[in-house]
């Protein structure tokens, strides 16, 4: 038990934890920066929105190990190839949710805003984006949890992270390292899930909560 706790104090544990967080945060940020403008550029046209959503759906079906493994023959081992792969994994959930969220905004609300004299940019920034925000954040949350979990696999293409500890523990038959690494990853994933859940609630406009309570429609 003591050697198990000792793992958490070791330098390599802290280093790998740091690499894991670096990889995940960078991949998620780049994912948001790529996916959100794509959704904004396509959601007005039914054809392009369908292309974006369907590409996203197919992208979501691609196994994470497959993406990491396919990046390896092209870019080789290391942190940067892992980051590329994780970014590719981060994009689909955000793209799907941002597109569907923006398209779900009631056209009557937009008509009303236009009637009040709001410009296209104002409608986007003060009507469409706030109303779509909870759905967009749900997408970012899905993406974040997936990236944190998949960053564990970066160890197989030399990207480092907490997966290194799990693999080390398995190879050396050292349960203390293995369990410490596994629990740290699991905790990181659960913290991400809960943290982004709170963020999602924080970004839900108050008016939307009232409307939801009044309509009492199950969100599907």
């Amino acid at each position: 038990m003591n050697e198990f706790f000792a793992v958490f104090g070791r330098d390599d544990f802290l280093n790998q934890l740091l690499v894991h967080v670096e990889l995940s945060v960078a991949a998620l940020l780049i994912g948001v920066v790529v996916a959100l403008p794509l959704a904004l550029a396509t959601f007005r046209s039914p054809l392009w929105a369908a292309v974006a959503i369907n590409t996203g759906n197919i992208g979501r079906a691609v196994p994470s190990l497959a993406i990491l493994a396919l990046v390896f023959p092209l870019l080789g081992f290391g942190f940067a190839p892992s980051l590329v792969a994780l970014t590719l994994l981060a994009i689909p959930p955000i793209l799907i949710n941002a597109s569907t969220g923006l398209r779900q905004v009631n056209p009557q609300v937009i008509d009303a805003a236009r009637g009040m004299g709001l410009s296209g940019g104002q409608i986007l920034s003060s009507i469409q984006l706030p109303i779509a925000a909870p759905v967009i954040f749900a997408g970012i949350r899905t993406s974040a949890v997936q990236v944190v979990a998949s960053a564990t696999l970066a160890t197989f293409v030399g990207g480092g992270g907490l997966g290194d500890l799990i693999v080390l523990g398995l190879q050396r038959n050292d349960p203390a390292v293995l369990i410490a690494g596994s629990l740290a990853v699991a905790a990181l994933a659960i913290i991400t899930e809960v943290g982004f859940g709170a963020l999602e609630r924080a970004f839900t406009p108050k008016g939307l909560l009232v409307a939801r309570k009044r309509a009492h429609t199950p969100s599907k």
Binding site: V19, A66, F79, L83, G163, I166, I179, S182, I190
Partner: protein, 234 residues
């Protein structure tokens, strides 16, 4: 960010794109690639089947005893958020499980429970109260109502859950090869360790194709089971 620099150095080295070794593919098709595909289908199919056998009764019970729903989703949600490599590694240390397909199947079943139970409950909820009343009025027993009215009407939503679970499982099963579970992941891992990209590409591409095929096939089944939605759209 020293690891980032190391990554860039690797990027610049001579590891660049290599062409597929088609000869290796044709030479190893019957004794390596096809068995890996079959192993992968087996792992995924058995896991979904076991998970469904657990989730169907659990979902039906939970839809009746609503108080049990939050704790069930909490526990299965916790299982779902544990990263797969961590789950596999932890299961290997459990006495009586160890390396091999057994640990992989246990983890895959655990992953599918949340999605499946959630969809069984949502499916049962989607059956209109009037429909059940009508069935009761026609003299059907509660058991007949469950099997002849509720479950058939809930089926499309349940299949939607099976679809998500299957795609997830096909993906995660590749990682199971690391703890000797077999399947397409084995081609990926041996390819990486021997620095032989053809193996990696074959394993990854086949796993991707399998996931996308399962996704589309189950989507088709879901639409087939929902004829009323098609009529309304037309």
């Amino acid at each position: 960010m020293s690891s980032f620099k190391a990554g860039l150095v690797v990027l610049q080295s001579d590891l660049g794109p290599k062409t597929l070794d088609w000869k290796w593919i044709s030479n190893n098709l019957s004794d390596e690639i096809i068995p890996a595909v079959i192993g992968h289908v087996y792992l995924s199919f058995v896991s979904v089947a076991i998970a469904l056998a657990i989730s169907l009764p659990t979902g039906v019970l939970v839809s009746r005893y609503r108080k049990a729903y939050p704790p069930v989703t909490f526990v299965t949600g916790l299982l779902f958020s544990v990263p797969s490599l961590a789950a596999f590694a932890l299961l290997v240390t459990v006495p009586g499980i160890g390396l091999g397909p057994r640990a992989v199947i246990i983890a895959l079943v655990a992953y599918s429970l949340l999605v499946l139970i959630r969809n069984v409950v949502a499916g049962m909820d989607s059956v209109a109260e009037e429909t059940k009343d009508a069935a009761r009025g026609m003299g059907l027993t509660p058991r007949q109502i469950l099997f002849r009215v509720e479950l058939p009407l809930a089926l499309p939503v349940i299949v939607a859950g099976v679809r998500i679970a299957t795609v997830t499982i096909i993906g995660i099963a590749t990682i199971g090869a690391y703890i000797s579970g077999g399947g397409l992941g084995e081609l990926i891992f041996t390819g990486i360790s021997r620095n032989f990209p053809t193996r990696v590409i074959v394993g990854a591409v086949l796993a991707t194709l399998m996931a996308i095929t399962a996704d589309l096939a189950l989507l088709w089944l879901e639409r087939l089971l929902r004829p009323w939605a098609r009529v309304r759209r037309a």
